[in-house]
């Protein structure tokens, strides 16, 4: 693929072992993209991934909980206070293990992405691809937590008999008692998705850059072998 980016040391060429020439940018680009993916993932730690908003007549400004990979922010106190009528556990008890390891996990994924920069063959994909799993695991785990939460109503509690078990939707509108709920993914999650996409594109360019190198090495090796064989034959 031709990428017309002028002024990037267009006079500098990469000479492959088979004697073919490649542009410098072909090799800088995948590295940059993989590092960008790692950076996006790191930034996402500081942004909310998901938000639940609750609306009821007596809460004109609504109530909100912002979910970060490692903590919750917002009106948990009030929501917990309301949920005690249903005997539900505090919001903060959901996904404790996941939150405790999430930062380490993201750092490891980021480091793997950067490691992939230095691996110049197909094995780079093995280091980079785990990052795909992160947003997937996040969504699956969130659903599980929400399911468990909505199914933890205590029938012995004040209003436990009046509300049926429910699972708050991952996205969009829901209804619990007099509350309308609205859930939505937040910038942190979108950054993680963006990181995955950037990483996939990076891998595509990685392949575009290094496959010719790997092939050229093979060809060079093969032709050397052929030369040696010819010498031996001669």
């Amino acid at each position: 693929m031709k990428i017309p980016i002028p002024h990037l040391d267009s006079d500098v060429k990469v000479l492959l072992p088979d004697g073919s020439e490649h542009k410098l940018i072909d090799y800088l680009l995948p590295s940059a993209l993989l590092m960008l993916a790692a950076l996006l993932l790191m930034i996402s730690m500081f942004l909310p991934y998901w938000r639940l908003r609750l609306y009821a007549p007596q809460y004109p400004k609504g109530l909100a909980v912002n979910v970060y990979v490692n903590h919750l922010e917002g009106d948990m106190r009030e929501i917990d206070g309301l949920n005690h009528y249903l005997g539900m556990p505090p919001l903060d008890e959901g996904g404790r293990l996941e939150r405790s390891i999430s930062i380490i996990a993201i750092v490891v994924l980021g480091l793997l992405l950067i490691a992939a920069v230095f691996i110049h063959n197909r094995w780079a994909a093995l280091f980079a691809l785990p990052a795909v799993a992160f947003p997937v695991i996040f969504v699956a785990d969130l659903w599980l937590i929400l399911y468990q939460y909505g199914h933890s109503i205590d029938p012995q509690s004040a209003l436990g008999g009046a509300i049926e078990a429910f699972t708050p939707p991952l996205m969009g509108l829901g209804k619990i008692g007099q509350f309308a709920t609205f859930s939505s993914f937040q910038p942190g999650f979108y950054l993680a998705i963006a990181a995955v996409m950037v990483m996939l594109i990076g891998l595509w360019f990685h392949r575009a850059a290094y496959k010719p190198l790997v092939d050229a090495r093979k060809r060079a090796r093969n032709s050397a072998r052929t030369a040696v064989a010819q010498e031996v034959v001669q």
């Binding site: 990428i3 609306y55 009030e78 509108l173 309308a180 939505s184 993914f185 950037v198 594109i201």
Partner: protein
């Protein structure tokens, strides 16, 4: 590459589009959407209502000026005296909706004020000779000032009946301190603050022997005295500091209303008076009654007091301690040049300093004029010296050396407030009208009319006493509205029996010239308020909920006896003392059963651990006269002897939740 970048952007936009969140509750129509601005003629249905109700275009104008749709708040807040209710009223302007009744000198159950909580301590400060006096006659509220403008931090008010002063903290609009003036039995000229609230001024009214002692009335001239108090205010603590306060002894002339000078007159205080006749009444013995005796002379004296110099004299120790407070004796005040007089027409009323501090306006009451005194002329006369002295030796500035102008307004001029374009507004009690008139001097260019001229007299219903304007007694008046505080309402409201509500009338002063209009009548059915002040709402910065769970609202800090979680609740017995730490939250108390033995001493700490606005709980304990208001975060402590045996309940007195009725507990006192 560009194609790939745009691919990323498009994907993100697509993802973000899934997140188009409703800005308000999605399933409930708030009724606020879809409204468009009305222009041109009235909509046909509104016109039909106007016809049906017989509303004139003026009525419609007034309705549009005052109607405040649900959910909109008032741009101005009026802090009003609650008269003989002993309370203070908070009213929104221009909607004229009562927002709050603040318990001040009288217990107020809805605030849990005076029924077992920390309000008891505040009310105890107002004891008179160690006896509870659980009412007051509140007269003149005064919002704290910085540089002559309201700063919205505190409000002060006096109790005329017992010479007391109260401090209200405007962070939570509740009373924090009541002090009893130890040397006076009544007051009137308070509260008024100095431009930076250095002192809260409490002027006297009916003279009595200083220190509140006995003296027969035939010794009136020698033994009876007026007394003006300067209460030092400590903003950090939010309390009057009696040790740093002082009083000045005055002749027994029945000083009436005061106002602190500001800007060019900063450092001075002006008070009118109305009994230079030294009348002592006794109509039953054939003497002239007070109403005649005190109005005999053609003039009384405007008192001109140099409080900054008095402050220096006090700090130099030229005082006498009487009943625990420093008093500057009258002779010292004269010798040190703290006190001057100038004549004012016949039984005057009010002494209202103009926004820039240049003039003092005094209402004639029995004289149809307001008299305008020039501060610079008076100061020049004092500087020049050689003044004649009155009976008590106080130097008197001749009227022609003090007066700037006189404006004839009508009958019964009392109080004057100002706007932002050079108009003054004076209440005319006998004419039952508000007079708009023009100021001169530096204000002459602000209005098109001639200086010192009556512009309009607007009839009000009826018998206006005080008058309030938006920040109209400060260095920065706001204009827009005046409120006439009418003493009689006669036919303005439906008949509710022989005791009638007072009538607060909102007056539109937004347009100049003769275009003042009455907009709205607001009944006050619980007292006869005197003065009120109107502050711009955005100057007030009250709490939405108390800053932390466990807040001692009386001390404005975290209470050491607060608990923040239900699992910290406990009951501890030590000998015959039982101490309870209780949490209060929707919809339960913890603990819900408290058992003691008859005669136990009970100390009971309650903390509302809520953080949600308006999640207030009450705590009423049957049989023990206890009722608290526990706003979110507040901690209160009650203490009593469980003398009554039996079964008692405590329950929440604020309808807090769907399970409010279930929010109760049993208090068992075993015989």
């Amino acid at each position: 590459m560009r194609r790939f970048l745009s691919l990323i952007v498009v994907s993100l936009v697509l993802l973000a589009a899934c997140d188009s969140e409703p800005s308000s509750m999605p399933t409930v129509d708030t009724g606020a959407t879809g409204a468009t601005a009305v222009t041109g003629a009235l909509p046909s249905d509104a016109a039909a209502i106007a016809t049906e109700r017989g509303l004139s275009p003026d009525d419609i104008y007034a309705a549009l000026k005052t109607y405040t749709p649900s959910g909109k708040t008032d741009p101005y807040i009026m802090i009003s005296s609650g008269g003989q209710s002993g309370q203070v009223l908070v009213i929104g302007v221009p909607s004229m909706r009562i927002l709050k009744v603040i318990g001040v000198f009288t217990p107020e159950p809805w605030q849990g004020y005076g029924f077992g909580g920390s309000g008891d301590k505040v009310l105890a400060g107002g004891k008179v000779n160690d006896k509870d006096v659980l009412w007051g006659d509140t007269h003149h509220p005064s919002i704290s000032e910085t540089d002559g403008s309201y700063d919205g931090q505190f409000a002060f008010i006096n109790d005329k009946a017992n010479a007391r002063l109260a401090v209200i903290d405007l962070r939570d609009f509740s009373t924090k301190q009541i002090i009893k003036n130890p040397n006076a039995i009544n007051d009137h000229g308070g509260a008024f603050v100095t431009p930076n609230t250095e002192y809260v001024i409490e002027g006297p009214q009916y003279a009595s022997p200083i220190g509140w002692r006995y003296a027969p009335l035939d010794q009136y001239k020698d033994k009876y005295r007026g007394l003006i108090s300067f209460w030092a205010f400590d903003r950090t603590r939010g309390r009057v500091d009696v040790a740093k306060s002082f009083q000045i002894e005055l002749p027994p002339y029945w000083q009436d209303l005061c106002d602190a000078g500001k800007k060019v007159s900063d450092g001075w205080v002006f008070c009118n008076s109305f009994n230079t006749e030294l009348a002592t009444g006794g109509v039953e013995a054939g003497n002239p009654p007070y109403e005649a005796g005190t109005t005999k002379n053609d003039t009384d004296y405007l008192h001109i007091i140099n409080w900054k110099k008095a402050d220096a004299v006090f700090k130099a120790g030229k005082v006498e301690q009487i009943n625990g407070i420093a008093v500057i004796r009258m002779q010292t005040a004269i010798d040190e040049g703290l006190l001057y007089f100038t004549p004012e027409p016949k039984s005057p009323h009010g002494a209202d300093v103009t926004p820039g501090g240049e003039f003092v306006v005094v209402g004639g009451k029995l004289d149809p004029h307001v008299t305008i005194y020039s501060v610079s002329k008076m100061l020049a006369a004092i500087e020049a010296g050689g003044l004649q002295k009155d009976t008590y030796g106080v130097p008197v500035i001749p009227l022609d050396k003090a007066m700037e102008a006189q404006v004839e307004l009508g009958l019964g001029p009392l109080h004057t407030v100002y706007d932002d374009r050079g108009y003054a507004y004076t209440s005319l009690f006998l004419d039952s009208a508000v007079a708009r008139w023009t100021l001169g001097g530096p204000y002459a260019d602000k209005h098109p009319e001639k200086a010192w001229t009556l512009v309009q007299k607007l009839p009000v219903q009826y018998n206006i006493g005080h008058i309030a304007a938006v920040e109209g007694d400060t260095a920065t008046p706001g204009g827009q509205f005046v409120v006439a505080l009418n003493k009689w309402s006669i036919d303005r409201f439906a008949n509710v029996g022989p005791l009638l509500p007072q009538n607060f009338q909102l007056v539109d002063i937004a347009k100049g010239g003769e275009q003042m209009k009455v907009l709205y009548d607001m009944p006050i059915g619980m007292a006869e308020p005197h003065y009120a002040q109107i502050i711009k709402a955005d100057r007030l910065k009250p709490y939405e909920v108390y800053p932390e769970v466990g807040w001692d609202a009386e001390q404005m800090k975290v209470d050491p006896n607060a608990i923040t979680k239900a699992d910290q609740a406990k009951v501890v017995r030590e000998g015959n003392q039982v101490e309870v730490w209780m949490t209060v939250v929707r919809s339960h108390f913890v603990p819900e059963q408290v058992k003691v033995k008859q005669g136990d001493h009970v100390i009971w700490h309650l903390t509302n651990i809520e953080r949600t606005r308006d999640a207030t709980h009450g705590f009423a304990l049957s049989g023990y006269n206890i009722n608290l208001s526990l706003e979110p975060g507040k901690t209160e402590t009650i203490e009593f002897d469980a003398v009554l045996p039996g079964t008692f309940t405590y329950y929440c007195t604020e309808f807090c939740s769907a399970l409010h009725l279930e929010m109760l507990g049993y208090f068992l006192v075993e015989p």
